[in-house]
Amino acid sequence: MTDLQTTPLFALHHRLGAKMVPFAGYDMPVQYPLGVLKEHLHTRAQAGLFDVSHMGQVTVSGDSWQSVATAFERLVPQDILGLADGRQRYAFFTTDTGGIADDLMVARRGEDLFVVVNAACKEADIAHMRDRLPGFTITEHADRALIALQGPAAESVLSAMDPAAAAMRFMDVATLRLGGVEVWASRSGYTGEDGYELSLPADRAEGLAEALLAHPAVEAIGLGARDSLRLEAGLCLYGHDIDVTTTPVSAALEWAIQKVRRHGGARAGGFPGDARILAELDHGAPMRRVGLQPTGRAPMREGVALFTDEAGGEAIGRITSGGFGPSVEGPVAMGHVPVELSQPGTALFGELRGKRLPVTVTSLPFVAARFKR
């Protein structure tokens, strides 16, 4: 618990009365006085402000966009070369055995690639990029904060400060001027709601956060609600739903691998673990990430073992994320099950406190995404 790092909004979290917890080496707000349930519902109804400054922000630069994108495609199974200037994409670093080393957001900003990675993986990710991309400049922006503004009111709040915010579509990136600060904005997030992620100099973060919080539609939201929001949205949490042991296909992330990198594509393969990942894209993987809805009201959390029968038999899979979904008004979960048991409607049992309780395989997300496409 010692040597926890803090974000540029640490003092603000304390002033707002946040309950702080250690998360990925940082002292982070898990909830504010509003509480997880109301913070979650407020984000879906209006707008929530999240401090995500613990995440890693990195720029990859080289001679040209062409050279940067070509090189980066050696690390990820995504189409990077095809990324238009001002566009962002979900990506993941793969391992040599086809697992997922981290999931990330990549954006083209002119000739550079701007990358946002998970806090817990950022040191390893940066080392990986430096190791695998010799001759390119890998710059970690430790001097920048990252603030997410998520929810249906996010557009009106930001466009009142800079009208250009409203013109952005889902997964666009642009430079906005918010309260006199130049902000690298992307229209994205991890809640299933429309919203923005805002990268800005650390010493300007508190001022912008307070300006946003002064808006009656905006509340500060902690990690607790961030987790239930992303879970309802069917989004993976690295280290839980996906990790080095899960492949993109077993994690049901095929949608994030563009045709050009698959068999028959112009730039098929050429990333770590490509043999296995390309084969699984063609033939499937033995396990699959699915949505799971417990029938009763008891939440089933990470680690709950899944069975086909109410008694006897071996566990066939496990829950990797689970809890209570405030918008669903009931328990929601994700887990990994054998592909033959992954069809929506499949009846399974989760073992909770020694009792096997019914749970149904469901399609994801639990709450439909409301992105501004």
Binding site: V30, Q31, G35, V36, L37, K38, G224, S228, R297, A298, P299, R301, G323, F324, P326, P331, R353
Partner: protein, 119 residues
């Protein structure tokens, strides 16, 4: 009223003890979303785990504070778990236990002692 180190409050009326969780415990738990109560008529021993409370954050349990029989449960908190946060030391009691042995009550904390305990 007496208090346990497990943050239960105990209200004795004759040989029946009403049990709930303290406001401090409710606040620490966060928003309660699920409560599982024992059935009326269940015979319990002191320190049996007889109630499961799930909040948005985690699962926790309530231990039987005494030996006895569950004589009444509060179904309204099963239907509306948020009551546990709204009125933990009033309407949101959990169960009533008829005890055969009130002796352990002497070891539980007074209100002043509990306040000191939670600091």
């Amino acid at each position: 009223m007496k208090y346990t180190e497990e943050h239960e409050w105990l209200l004795v009326e004759g040989d029946v003890v009403t049990v709930g969780i303290t406001a401090h415990a409710a606040e620490q738990l966060g928003d309660v979303v699920f409560v599982d109560l024992p059935e009326v008529g269940t015979t319990v021993s002191k320190d049996d785990e007889i109630v499961v409370i799930e909040s948005v954050k985690a699962a926790s349990d309530i231990l039987a504070p005494l030996d006895g029989e569950i004589v009444e449960i509060n179904e309204t908190i099963v239907d509306n778990p948020a009551m546990v946060n709204d009125d933990p030391e009033g309407e949101a009691w959990f169960f009533k236990i008829r005890t055969t042995d009130l002796k352990p009550m002497d070891d539980y904390m007074t209100e002043a002692e509990y306040k000191e305990f939670i600091g």
